[in-house]
Symmetry: C2
Subunit: 331 residues, 2 copies
């Protein structure tokens, strides 16, 4: 079974994705992080342990599914969604569901088994972000999809089951509730002020400076005013653009650069914390919105707390973002 | 510093709560669960290690802050909010904040150091839920408060720092975003159908039965249709009522009973999982809403995943609720 189900009250879509054969309690035991290059399916030489590659950056002299690549994209071996079929919306008693159609891909970020972003060559990091753009541009042509979510889990506590650096991409036939909320909020603001709220945030933070971690010509990294988590960081482009896939080549260079600096600072400050980042970008069919502004949200996973925030959307953060930003600026 | 800060886009309030003296990175190391009755501040004889009690159920022959009680309510020793002061709303540059006023209490659920709900006498469990009612009724008279959130973290992975059974209560001057969303969704439904959506869910689930875990005269426990987590359970009263504090005495008996059964089933099925539960009830000043319906949401914390769901509001659940419910019914 793979389907989207809509919470009838909130309107939140959830993917219910199971394999029939197993017993319920078996589903919930997650695998440990695989930490040895010998058995790592994302390392050179182990390409046969993954589904066939979708695309890779590799020397033209090398073949598909062989070593030599430096970025490699594959379908997730245990996909939450399947790519074949039609988007069918139907009632289920008083509830609503949609067939679990979508793409679920893994972007292997480097051939190096155990390097974090800041330890890679900058060119390698640029190519990660270039590959994101390529995948979005490619998948966008599939009219079944409404949204493409790109995210990274690094560390077991952040949800990673493999330690080899990788990000994930989920293309889906609806818009996630968090993006809907952002768009609603940003639109409301725009209707009153005729300005993009994210542009205003960039401008406010550049003026006040207390929450700035680092900036360059194209990007600013801040600890946001209402940070949910200690050391939460948002990386925002200075140029207004709703769609990540519009990013220019020189911006990719500066994005790679700021992501490396931020990653290094977080690793130094917090001793290689598990973290997640998430690319917030415009829905695929919304056109060139004046009020939305793509950005990346980085969330180090520091505390042992778990379920409460999941269930409530209510956050208690013991580290003021001004203190976190100061600490990261000075490290 | 203790203040509420509003995310300018989503409108989500976050509590920023810090102690000045410590260095930022020190804030993020959580204490381990304290597991020995000798040092446990929630055990009989250690009352001096907690702030003075607010109220307790205890024999009239015993004194405040001495042993003998079976339910004891104290202020949180490390409160996220402070109770003294006025609710001041102000601008902070382009942002909004409110002084961190509120109550943050701990409800110690029993004198027994290491018993889960199902292992207690039913009378003890009834008194936990009776105490919730008493605290809400008392705090409701404070006109500064808009909402009272009651929740339980059980197990380190669910955010508990002490293993002695306890719940927490936070009274605050605004409504959490998840409750706002529920009310908006429930109101929308009511405007179209003139029925409470939760009453419709109760009726649908009683008819279809596939997602029912257990029921009694007053309550039904279901795995909800769009469960975010494996083995997520909602306990809903069959009688429509927006406000928990309206609960009748006979309902408290049946609530205690169903919570014990559910807790026992979860512990058997999932080998004593860490879990959270959260009491969803009406905002304090909204009166007798026809479209809202109090309930309890229970979330076992089974998987190692963490940050992704926190950041996105997007959930992938590998266990269909029908399978979870069947498994729990039969155990």
């Amino acid at each position: 079974m793979r389907e989207f189900r809509r919470d009838p009250i909130i309107g939140r879509w959830v993917i219910i994705s199971s394999e029939r054969a197993r017993r319920p309690y078996a589903f919930v035991k997650y695998e440990r992080e695989i930490d040895s290059p010998d058995t790592c399916p994302f390392c050179w030489g182990n390409e046969k342990f993954t589904p066939p590659e979708i695309v890779a950056y590799r020397p033209s002299s090398t073949k598909k599914d062989t070593p030599g690549w430096w970025i490699r994209v594959i379908p997730n071996k245990y996909p939450a969604l399947r790519v074949e079929g039609n988007v069918v919306k139907s009632a289920d008693g008083i509830y609503d569901k949609i067939t679990g159609i979508g793409a679920h891909e893994v972007i292997i970020e480097t051939q190096h088994h155990n390097k974090d972003i800041y330890e890679l060559d900058q060119r390698n990091v640029e190519d990660i972000f270039k590959m994101y753009k390529d995948r979005v541009t490619d998948l966008k042509r599939d009219i079944r999809f409404e949204y493409i979510l790109i995210f990274k889990n690094c560390g077991t506590k952040a949800g990673a089951t493999l330690s080899h650096p990788h990000s994930q991409l989920i293309a889906m036939p609806m818009i996630p509730v968090i993006i809907k909320q952002e768009i609603t909020g940003a639109k409301f603001y725009f209707e009153h002020k005729e300005r993009c709220i994210y542009c205003d945030i960039v401008s406010e933070e550049l003026t006040r400076t207390v929450r700035v971690v680092v900036e360059n010509d194209d990007f600013i990294a801040i600890c946001p005013y209402a940070s949910r988590f200690p050391f939460e960081i948002w990386v925002l482009p200075k140029r207004h653009d709703p769609m990540y896939e519009d990013i220019h080549d020189n911006e990719i260079r500066n994005l790679a650069s700021i992501m490396q600096v931020v990653n290094k600072k977080l690793n130094l400050a917090l001793e290689n914390p598990p973290y997640n980042y998430l690319l917030h970008t415009s829905p695929l069919k919304d056109g060139n919105l004046q009020y939305y502004h793509w950005h990346i949200e980085i969330m180090p996973q520091l505390s042992g707390v778990g379920g409460f925030e999941w269930g409530t959307g209510f956050y208690i953060n013991p580290v003021p973002p001004e203190e976190a930003a100061k600490f990261l600026r000075e490290i």
